[in-house]
């Protein structure tokens, strides 16, 4: 079945949200883990 305009827009918009999540997860992984008790 051919993808309708609404189906295409929805897929791209939902994928964009997940791409943003993936980017945030990568940034989080880059940050050094800080031990708050360390002096």
């Amino acid at each position: 079945m051919e993808e309708s305009k609404a189906d295409k827009m929805a897929r791209e918009r939902a994928q964009a949200a997940l791409d943003k999540l993936a980017e945030a997860e990568k940034e989080k992984a880059k940050k050094p883990k800080v031990n708050p008790k360390a002096k």
């Binding site: 609404a6 929805a10 918009r13 949200a17 997940l18 791409d19």
Partner: protein, 292 residues
């Protein structure tokens, strides 16, 4: 003095018979399998006959330059709808029957899934979703910000079907749903979250569901990051594995599970599974913690 109301009035007075109304919604559409797709779908008296016809109307109203702040509503009268649907976006899809066999709005295609495609602002409420082949009732590729509640998932033939299958998912809530079967082969999976490179079941909320199945109630692939995925108060009976999180990132609280092998399989159960009540068939053990 008594006052009778018409069917249309009943649905407009305080919402549907199951108590769901949407006073802030944008557009309302009506589906009744006694209606006609030549109707405009704007009332019960001019209802569409098929759900897909109403979904097409609803999706056509979306202004894709922004995110809608008022969703559409599609009310569906009780009856069997033999349709393979594509999803409605930013829309409440509401069945108006009462839970039971042949008393709900039943999406029941001859073959294939009930709904296939992206879920985006998709709300399913009080629907009976039945498949005759070994496929997911809801074959969701990508999912963002969607809610499935008070729905029943089942198989109409002795096939190992799945209730909900996702490829890549964030902010899915599934609550107060039933996964059940009247067949000699039960439903295989409740929720099946697939993985891969940068694939997620992120921030899902899975709670208060009753899941009768044979393979796993909730299954998360090892490459599916289930960050902040939280499942609680689910009753799961009696698959091989109750909740099988192969990624070890979900949080599991207070689920009641009977399984024929492992009630919970989770790499980080010591820190992320709290207060689950489990019976493992192999040992007959009843444990207060989430480990097995």
């Amino acid at each position: 003095m008594s006052k009778s109301v018409t069917k249309a009035q009943l649905f407009h007075m305080g919402g549907t018979p199951v108590g769901m109304d949407f006073p802030g919604a944008e557009n309302f559409y009506y589906v009744d399998n006694n209606g006609s797709d030549n109707n405009d779908g704007s009332s019960w008296d001019s209802a569409k006959a098929t759900i897909q016809a109403a979904i097409t109307l609803s999706n056509a109203t979306i202004d894709w330059s922004t995110t809608p702040d008022r969703y559409n509503v599609i009310y569906i009268a009780p009856g069997v709808y033999a349709e393979n649907l594509t999803p409605a976006y930013y829309c409440h899809l509401v069945g108006t029957g009462i839970r039971g066999t042949d008393t709900m709005a039943e999406i029941h295609p001859a073959t294939g899934s009930c709904i296939t495609g992206t879920f985006l602002g998709t709300h399913l409420y009080n629907l009976w979703l039945e498949v005759n082949t070994a496929v997911p009732c809801l074959d969701i590729g990508i999912c963002n910000n969607s809610l499935i509640e008070f729905c029943t998932f089942t198989n109409g033939a002795a096939v190992a079907a799945t209730a909900v299958d996702t490829d890549n998912c964030t902010h899915l809530t599934m609550r107060y749903c039933s996964v059940e079967s009247g067949q000699s082969t039960g439903m295989a999976y409740g929720l099946y979250h697939r993985g891969g490179d940068e694939k997620y079941a992120h921030n899902c909320r899975i709670h208060d569901n009753v899941i009768h199945c044979t393979t796993a109630g909730i299954w998360i692939q090892d490459t599916c990051t289930a960050s902040q995925y939280t499942a609680w108060n689910n009753l799961i009976a009696r698959p091989t594995k109750g909740i099988d999180d192969n990624n070890g990132t979900s949080y599991l609280y207070n689920n009641y599970i009977t399984a024929t092998s492992d009630a919970i399989e989770h790499a980080n159960s010591a820190t992320q599974c709290i207060g689950n009540h489990v019976i493992n068939n192999a040992t007959g053990a009843v444990e207060a913690s989430g480990t097995d």
